[in-house]
């Protein structure tokens, strides 16, 4: 269907810059997530791809054609909003037909298209029902049907599941992803929910304050965060930041953390100053033998695993360990870090320091 390329895109609203020189590429058929907190510029970016906002500068290419300054109607895209706007006085069939009828398509062909879309979405049995009596999920399916029926080059979705409750959202997320697998249409999806982004996306762009912080595959972004913002925003509980002053050389495989030697991936650049030792909760083990000591503050049982909150010389740390391993608030334990998974950051700039682990990701990011 479509490949979308965003080049040095910038958007200013008066004095406020919503987007600063944003660049990334969405491959044909990809499910692409724009992720970030509110106000980060993700919706503005989506609206510029749609043609609902015009960029202050920069280019947008859809299938190689520059469309940045073209109106929405000439871009052949379909937009699905957070609040599914259906025509309340029409039944399901007429809601889905509407975009085709208004294009002047022949009635027989409309019937055929609607039947096909209804089958994809599994809503054949409700085609003649009024939309007012439908459940939230069915309304969402009808809104999707109206977007799909036009066979657009791509789908743009702005938090389409935001208004649904947690359990149902999980279900609809799976359904959307399955639908994408059947249709293979390029989809750009805006969300502030990191789990939704990880779960559904082929690729993720993480934005903050109008700037692209990182762009890549979900697991890469999780394992090799380029900035402290990304490391903190993705993952729950988020990555632990143990802060200290120190200096490291190229080729180092260990560092001193509160007089204890702990592992790091082989460094590719030297650093001197305020360092952050970034380690994910599941890469910390409790071990009596380990020299780095911590006090257990709290335990949270989660079924197979438990989250242990610990007090250390470098601040509060959370570890995710098996739930059958004993840990009692008040006791002192040793912590072992899985050094190969650690990311060091420059605390001043928030940037990751290059190492064997992340150099592949950082060089093209």
């Amino acid at each position: 269907m479509a490949e979308i390329r965003i080049q040095n895109l910038r958007k200013e609203f008066g004095d406020f810059t919503a987007d600063q020189t944003t660049s990334f590429k969405i491959e044909d058929g990809e499910f692409f997530m724009l992720l970030g907190p509110s106000g980060c510029g993700k919706t503005t970016t989506l609206r510029m791809i749609a043609g609902l906002e015009l960029p202050t500068s920069g280019e947008i290419y859809i299938d190689g054609q520059e469309v940045g300054q073209k109106p929405a109607s000439q871009r052949d895209i379909a937009f699905v909003f957070q609040m599914f706007a259906l025509y309340p006085h029409m039944n399901v069939r007429r809601n889905i037909s509407y975009p085709l009828v208004s294009q002047g398509m022949a009635r027989a062909q409309v019937r055929e298209k609607v039947a096909e879309v209804a089958k994809i979405l599994g809503i054949e049995d409700i085609l003649d029902r009024p939309v007012s009596g439908l459940s939230g999920g069915d309304r969402q399916r009808v809104a999707l049907g109206r977007a799909i029926v036009r066979n657009p080059k791509c789908f743009l979705m702005d938090e389409p599941l935001g208004a649904l409750d947690a359990e149902f959202r999980e279900h609809m997320a799976e359904e959307l992803r399955a639908l994408h697998e059947r249709m293979g249409a390029t989809t750009v999806y805006v969300t502030h929910d990191q789990l939704e982004a990880m779960q559904m996306g082929d690729k993720i762009v993480v934005m903050n304050h109008g700037v692209v912080e990182q762009f890549g595959e979900p697991q890469d972004i999780y394992d090799k965060p380029a900035t402290m913002f990304v490391a903190d925003f993705i993952g729950s509980p988020s990555m632990n930041f143990l802060k200290f002053k120190g200096s490291v050389e190229i080729g180092a495989t260990t560092i001193q953390l509160n007089h204890q030697t702990v592992g790091i991936p082989t460094l590719r650049e030297p650093f001197d100053g305020d360092i952050v030792y970034g380690v994910r909760p599941e890469h910390i083990r409790l071990s009596d033998a380990a020299g780095y000591r911590a006090e257990v503050i709290a335990t949270e049982y989660l079924g197979t695993t438990q989250i242990i909150t610990l007090s250390t010389h470098n601040g509060e740390v959370k570890a995710r360990i098996a739930s059958d391993q004993p840990a009692t608030p008040g006791e002192t334990v040793g912590l072992e870090f899985n050094g190969a998974t650690v990311t060091l950051f420059d605390n001043q700039t928030g940037r990751a320091i290059r190492s064997e682990l992340n150099e592949g990701v950082l060089s093209h990011g």
């Binding site: 595959e217 993952g235 949270e300 079924g303 989250i307």
Partner: protein, 331 residues
Amino acid sequence: MADVTLTNVSKSFRSTIAVEDMSMDIEDGSFVVLLGPTGAGKTTTLRLISGLEEPDKGDIQIAGRSVIGETPAQRNVAMVFQQYSLYPHMTVRDNLAFPLRSPILKTPEGEVARKVAEVAEILHIDHKLENKATALSGGEMQRVSIGRALVRRPEIYLMDEPLSSLDAQLRAELRVELKRIQANLGATLLYVTHDQIEAMTMATQIGVLDRGQLVQFGSPREIYENPVSLYVASRLGLPRINMLPKDLFAGAPSGAATIGLRPEHIQQGEGNPATVVRIEHLGDQTRLHLSLEGHDIVTLADVHSTLEPGDTIAIQPRNALFFDAAGARIA
């Protein structure tokens, strides 16, 4: 603080049975979480204990004394609601002091100041005491409203989804904080939620409710590992427990209709061939969506698994749970 006991309590609203024949012991110093979907009777139970509703049948005792017919004030309970209701024109300090200055308690001002300072410190809002309530963030407002309950030493604290209006990060923070506060004070706390994470992480005991009935009561570990029914088994655990027909794998006991298999209780390498439908990389875990003879199964894989859709892997159950046709656990 005190024991709270419900004995065969029922409550209906017209033709709707909200709570049916409920018996429950909330021990002094315990953190009991009532878990269930909307309409299960969680909030009604809380309101019956607080005195905002009267039961049609049964008895409620606080510290060994029946409180049927007593007003909420006489019962000496403190409630925290989902929507923080603070006095907007008052400072944080005055909001916190308000319950202590009530005509019933008439606490001396020196005592009020001491208690407010203590609670503000516990909740990390001591630097905001002179702020107007409206000049606080959502998380701070909710902490103040929890604080307004904590300044008193009631027989029991009753909390109705106090964290549900907060964002995910703050909720995670307050979960740990609330549990720490409860443990430090040795307070008795009854907490209502539909969020399984809150229930599992904070409770000393979880009460699982289904259509007005208490269907299981026990520690989070007991409820997760030893559920009495398919309903209870599906309330806890993410991803949810897989429910499969009994003949999909060998070894189901007689009378079984459904096999309940938690995602982590599926062993890979031997057994029946299943097709990989989809892989979800969630960072700390990777979920495999499998199809086995037309049934969807979710299990976990190594985080950096190289499996792809279309691959076939052999799976077999380990520590399966078995349920009869009515959903009751039989093995």
